[in-house]
Amino acid sequence: LTKFGTEEKKMLKLSWSIKLNIQVLLLQFYSKIVFCFPFRFNYRSTHHLTSNGFYEFLNWFDERAWYPLGRIVGGTVYPGLMVTAGLIHYVLNLLHITVHIRDVCVFLAPVFSGLTSISTFLLTRELWNQGAGLLAACFIAIVPGYISRSVAGSFDNEGIAIFALQFTYYLWVKSVKTGSVFWAIGCCLSYFYMVSAWGGYVFIINLIPLHVFVLLLMQRFSRRVYIAYSTFYIIGLVLSMQIPFVGFQPIRTSEHMAAAGVFVLLQVYAFLQYLKDRLTRQEFQTLFFLGVALAAGVVFLSVIYLTYTGTNKLKCYAKIHIPIIASVSEHQPTTWVSFFFDLHILVCTFPAGLWFCIKNINDERVFVALYAISAVYFAGVMVRLMLTLTPVVCMLSAVAFSCVFEHYLGDDMKRQSPPAEDSRLGPNIKSIVTMLMLMLLMMFAVHCTWVTSNAYSSPSVVLASYNHDGSRNILDDFREAYYWLRQNTDEHARVMSWWDYGYQIAGMANRTTLVDNNTWNNSHIALVGKAMSSNETAAYEIMRSLDVDYVLIIFGGVIGYSGDDINKFLWMVRIAEGEHPRDIRESDYFTPQGEFRVDKAGSPTLLNCLMYKMSYYRFGEMQLDFRTPPGFDRTRNAEIGNKDIKLKHLEEAFTSEHWLVRIYKVKKLENRDRTSSL
């Protein structure tokens, strides 16, 4: 057995190193830029943390964002990620291993994903057996749903949060199994780390009480559960309140109430059990029916109610009340395609694993069943929560595969209870089933490699295109423009752009932005949306009142980039309309037939709004190739409707090489005309 154990460790290490290799490979192409949108912000705050110290970081007021409001960063972020990176950096530098904080940030995600696969192994081993654990670790190492958050360079909260999530669950299962305070305290500490890292901690604080509650319903109450949950709830509560951003939420908001309710319920239940031991049956029944029935009923009802509202909170998050949340592609409901894309064959095999678990139920398998069911529900609500589903799918699929392999690959002679002679499997059946399973796994591996190399490995700030001869062409327009802003504008210049680019501008251009990806102030965003969708004069008023110096837009018409501002424009209009219904009406931007068109048939409001003018300024003169007329927009495949655009209050300040980013300068008020003043 010991020998088997060491081999297993080797395998685990192997899966970790494979993972690291995959992710480090990417860097060879894209050097060391911290890629995506939110990552820039995390990097910037980590940089602030390492250069100014922890307390300065907690008190950090960022006057560069949300001009003129500013943002209290220290109190409104989950500091776990930055503190982790900062701590690693500090320790390494203490040992005179002088790595740059940027390198720490870039490699943090792969390292943590390695830890995730180890904790997944541990959790699955607790649930099923070592073989399943090993498979689960291998699955999570390559599954596309998680690769997206664990590639080198993705410096994101989720990257470390999934590790914290899995590890907390492992410790929870362990503490339920042993009933030891030691494991429960470990679980609390891990939970504390999770709280400091990601808002998704709410998932834990609802799932664990749900587990306890279901155990109670299933008559599986035991001293172990009592010890584990009481310890976890009290210490976890106190610890979670230490994070400034969380503060008093755990005792105020409804999504934490389920945990409190279950805690009370558990105490009552334990007390009843105690009374049951002390009193005679008659006395107990009287007492029970007179007093406790009422109280328990109330508690039960409230718990059910609170659990319902609490777990629904994540869904509320995605409710389509405010267009701004609906406008984010990550908040859309998940399609079947993306389920398959992210999980591939695992999405088919994991119900089998769930069935195996439910068939041989015990305390911890109740937990994983609940985990699976709730995660599937949330992943269906919102693409982004696919991430919480991925680990459990890996675990349960591993259970399924492990069961099948055990049945078809194992030696019948070596079993503890060898099957009867007639029910033994023939060698043909065995080999066919094994081959099929291996084929499935192979296809899964091929799919994962493909997805990793194609979908998730290109940073969103660098676009790559391929020439006829296969050589790669890098379109580095974003960085070109951001760097121009950084170098050639006043240090305190204020840049107006749509909120998607807020973090990028703050991080790469180091300039003050009006709105950014932390969309906490809807009305401010609506004001920017209003400026973009008004005509130039009205927009100038707004921009003057907001002290805007530069306006930055993304325009993909030249190269056919579809994620540009004109394609996002309707969201700006909708968000602006939400706050300023008298000035902006969505219907004005459609043709009478209800189409959104940029050509001559488009609505005049659209053809004269600021966004349209800025996007197509001087584009009407440009002829991209001989087959199309001048001013032909490649993204929308239309010849633009307003070719003669004159700007009165704005001036083109910079346009990147492929016109992807256009920056306009807001002119100051003109000197008063001398002749008219006479």
């Binding site: 894209y30 050097s31 060391k32 830029i33 005179h96 291993i97 002088t98 660098v462 890098i474 580095d476 960085r479 070109e480 423009a481 951001y482 760097y483 121009w484 950084r486 170098q487 050639n488 991080g507 790469m508 001087r618 584009f619 003169e621 440009m622 001036e651 083109e652 300040a653 910079f654 346009t655 990147s656 090489e657 016109w659 300068k665």
Partner: protein, 601 residues
């Protein structure tokens, strides 16, 4: 005139004393002066070829070069060489001095051999001025061309009288707005020739002003920090952090990408890219800035150099700036010389960034290996040395010494070698590997201690029992296997007996079997008793093994007897064979049971 010159001659004896007039060297006269003012780039390069004649009465060791007060602050480089008949001799030693009563900068040039009275000498003087071409107008639009103004001197500014001189000005283009017309100069394409002017008194100044079109790149390096990190493991890492600025006419109004892409002369004074020449052995070249790799560069490896086509992220228009880092590795054997413990690093203090470069402020940091002592630096020209610093990188304990030097206003002429001498004890090379070895040794040792020793506060009796039981069962297994081996041995004895019919051998074999069997069985039963004492249920299984084994033994004895009877002729052969078959199949069964029991242990 004569009186004055004799006065001057006397004053020359007292070097640069208060009352001395400018002409301090005795009776030197510029016989013939040819000046070339090269304004075709953004620098003003003035080359003066002059024939000095000593009209005094004694030999002179040195002469004075002077720079006009307007131009003096911009002087980046000055060099003088004696022009012989054939090739140029080496550069002469130049020392800054000053002359009271006259403004401007003065440089005293020491001659290699003294100039005798009445003799003549041909001297070539090179001066390079930065930032003397002022854009005018200072702001232009993208479509406009860049015009610049140069203000200089028609005459050679010299402490000596000049007999005859000409000045030739080379411009960047034919388009000239205005130029001063002293002495009716001739203009031919981009060349304006002034002179000859005859008998010009000392310190003559007359403003020459030329306003012309110049679209050459007006690039200036605002600050350059060059870090050279020497490793004795064979590598020298060089990194340059560069702040670049377009110091031409500032762009006014909009920058239109459309015009820039469609019209070739739009933004003609802007800079798209330039070439940086790195040493031929440069490897792992990188070019990046704060937000990552700059993907718009090309590298070309030539025989004698590595050329990097540096393209900033965006074209540089007037007034725009950018910032980047370029770095590469060099093999140390080309630059590091050693003799015993003494080392000498010979490297360029500053290297090529672009042609006709101007560096406003240069900082060079040379990081020597940890433990370098007696550091001494030979610089090719005067340079400010700041106090040494310490630098910590991987595996450093007491820090590497860093030499820091700075200098302002550098041009291409400053690309020269600097030599750093230091002592380094070679034993120190082992320090870092030993450090790593030590760290790993401590790590492994700790792990060994942790694994071997029991640090548990509480004993876990169950685990201990389990371990004890495991060791006992192991012993049982070997003993039982040994016992089964005895039976096989006995079979062989019986077979041999059947052939040889040697009863003695059979009996002795049987005796040893009995004896060995007894000792083994006793040992196993004692182990069984111990297992029972530990409370393990394995004891029962061992008991079962014992029972089965006694049956096996019986069978062995039976087959032995049968064989005896066969030999004695008491049974027929066929009956014996059948009997034997029976017995062996039974035995097989029993042994199989023992095996399965053993597997279960």
């Amino acid at each position: 005139m004569n009186e004055a010159s004799s006065f001057r001659r006397r004053a020359a004896r007292r070097p640069f004393s208060a009352a001395a007039l400018g002409v301090s060297a005795g009776g030197l006269v510029n016989e013939e002066v040819k000046r070339t003012v090269d304004l075709s780039t953004h620098l003003a390069k003035i080359t003066t070829e002059l024939v000095l004649s000593n009209q005094g009465h004694s030999a002179v060791q040195s002469f004075i070069l002077s720079v006009e007060p307007d131009l003096a602050p911009h002087l980046a480089y000055i060099g003088a060489s004696v022009k012989g008949d054939g090739e140029d001799d080496g550069l002469l030693e130049i020392q800054q001095s000053d002359i009271h009563g006259h403004s401007g900068d003065f440089y005293k040039v020491h001659l290699a051999s003294s100039l005798a009275a009445g003799a003549q000498l041909k001297v070539k003087v090179e001066m390079t001025f930065s930032h003397v071409l002022k854009p005018f107008p200072t702001h232009i639009t993208q479509a406009e061309r860049q015009l610049v103004v140069f203000q200089g001197n028609h005459y050679l500014y010299s402490p000596y009288p000049t007999r005859s001189q000409t000045t030739r000005v080379r411009l960047a283009s034919k388009t000239v707005e205005t130029y001063t017309k002293l002495g009716n100069p001739s203009k031919n394409d981009e060349i304006i020739e002034y002179g000859p002017f005859r008998d010009v008194p000392p310190y003559s100044e007359d403003t020459m002003k030329i306003h012309y079109e110049n679209n050459t790149p007006f690039l200036t390096i605002g600050s350059l920090t060059r870090t050279i990190e020497v490793s004795h493991w064979g590598n020298i890492a060089v990194e340059e952090t560069i702040d670049l600025r377009h110091t031409g006419a500032v762009l006014r109004g909009a920058f239109s990408r459309y015009d820039y892409q469609r019209q070739s002369d739009s933004g003609i004074s802007s800079i798209k890219s330039f070439k940086t020449i790195l040493p031929a052995s440069a490897q792992d070249v990188y070019y990046r800035d704060e937000i990552g790799n700059i993907s718009t560069s090309h590298l070309q490896v030539l025989d004698d150099s590595v050329e990097v086509e540096v393209r900033p992220r965006f074209p540089l228009f007037g007034g725009w700036k950018t910032h980047y880092v370029i770095g590469y590795n060099l093999p140390s054997y080309e630059y590091l010389y050693t003799l015993g413990d003494q080392y000498a690093l010979k490297m360029r203090l500053v290297d090529h960034v672009y042609d006709d470069q101007v560096i406003d402020s240069l900082t060079v940091k040379i990081i020597l290996p940890e433990g370098a002592r007696n550091i001494h630096m030979d610089t090719p020209y005067k340079i400010d040395r700041l106090p040494n610093q310490l630098h910590y990188t991987y595996l450093d304990t007491f820090g590497r010494p860093v030499l820091v030097v700075t200098k302002d206003n550098l041009v291409e002429h400053h690309i020269q070698d600097v030599v750093v001498h230091y002592n380094f004890n070679k034993i120190l090379m082992l320090q870092e590997p030993l450090l790593v070895v030590g760290a790993f040794y401590i790590l492994f040792f700790t792990v060994i201690i942790y694994v071997r020793l029991d640090f548990a506060i509480t004993k876990d009796p169950a685990a201990e029992v389990r371990m004890k039981v495991a060791s006992i069962t192991e012993q049982v297994l070997t003993l039982v296997n040994k016992r089964l081996g005895l039976y096989r041995h006995m079979d062989e004895v019986v077979n041999r007996y059947k052939q040889s019919r040697d009863t003695g051998a059979l009996n002795s074999g049987r005796k040893t079997l009995e004896a060995d069997h007894r000792t083994l069985t006793n040992e196993i039963s004692s182990l069984q008793a111990r297992l029972k004492a530990e409370g393990s249920d394995l004891a029962e299984k061992v008991g079962e093994v014992q029972k089965v084994d006694s049956q096996v033994k019986e069978l062995v004895c039976r087959s032995c007897q049968e064989a005896e009877r066969l030999v004695a002729g008491k049974v027929k052969k066929e009956a014996y064979i059948e009997n034997e078959k029976n017995l062996s199949s039974k035995r097989q069964e029993f042994v199989g049971r023992i095996d399965s029991l053993l597997d279960a242990l």
